[in-house]
Symmetry: C2
Subunit: 200 residues, 2 copies
Amino acid sequence: MPPQQRGQESREHILQVAGTCFAENGYDGTGVAEICRRAEMSKGAFYHHFPSKQALFLELLNRWLDGLEGQFFAIRAEAPSVAAGLLRMTEMVRQILTDAGGQLSIFIEFLSQARREPAVWEATIAPYRRYRALFAEMIAEGVREGSLQPVDPELAAGALVSLGVGVLLQSLLDGDGADWGQVTRTGVQMLIRSDSQSGA
Amino acid sequence: MPPQQRGQESREHILQVAGTCFAENGYDGTGVAEICRRAEMSKGAFYHHFPSKQALFLELLNRWLDGLEGQFFAIRAEAPSVAAGLLRMTEMVRQILTDAGGQLSIFIEFLSQARREPAVWEATIAPYRRYRALFAEMIAEGVREGSLQPVDPELAAGALVSLGVGVLLQSLLDGDGADWGQVTRTGVQMLIRSDSQSGA
């Protein structure tokens, strides 16, 4: 295997192991030493790939968010209307909740760190703002094309993202407490009711 | 002042100081010693009131939640219809977001701790479940009385609570990013659209 590929693989390995450590013991409860031990790697090798634990943490966050955003854009590009696209996105949320399991719980660690570390805070709020802007644009288009009822796009996008964030959080805390995929779908259907009534 | 009243006052004082400490430095970053120092109180006095830091933390959580629930019940009792009650509750959320400020940020500390401490976890999910049950009941009544469109009450309540949780979280992280009170109102209006259209 060429050295560059091996380097990439060990970088991926560190990210994966660190994700598990953060999920199990939290950000504060996870040291670089512990990550190295479980990744069977020296500290020197770790710092070759990441300047700090925080840098690694931010990369985990950004990867997850970029992946989500990529899926959103793909759905939006393929859906016949904005309303139909939004409903398909709820299926994606359901899939995320089912697949990601324990990994997702580092989401709460990001929040907790965001309050104390400005770099994490910026990295954490940026995607919320990006998602609100993305949905505001979609909703404005949906109102123009007539698949959504007239509504303030910024405020409606804020409500939509809030619904998603709230579902994510509760599903992490209380996965068995409700059918969270179904809650998301119902919420989005209610938010875009004009469409489900017209059968589009 | 009678001793009992003085005891109650010093207990309140500890709770207030601890809330500030948790908000500033997180749960893990706050020790009993620090709380005692800032409350100008001995450790003996602290442990006279609370068996542990966790017990104090849970009391803060429960007080906040009981206060919210009391307000919800009062609004529900006075509102002419379920739909009208839900809209008035959004005003209450707006008030909470404006008033509580820094104190609210311990909300994220509760979440972070909930993942690791079973006692905190139980105390944290119980109110979400209680609120979902409370709103499910309200929504079922709203459908019966005709102020809400027919909908599955459990799922709709899940969506409503998720909207609230998502707004709370984003307003904590990014208070200036949107008019969160207005986002809540828009979201609830969209969720209960039948009512705002009929002008009830």
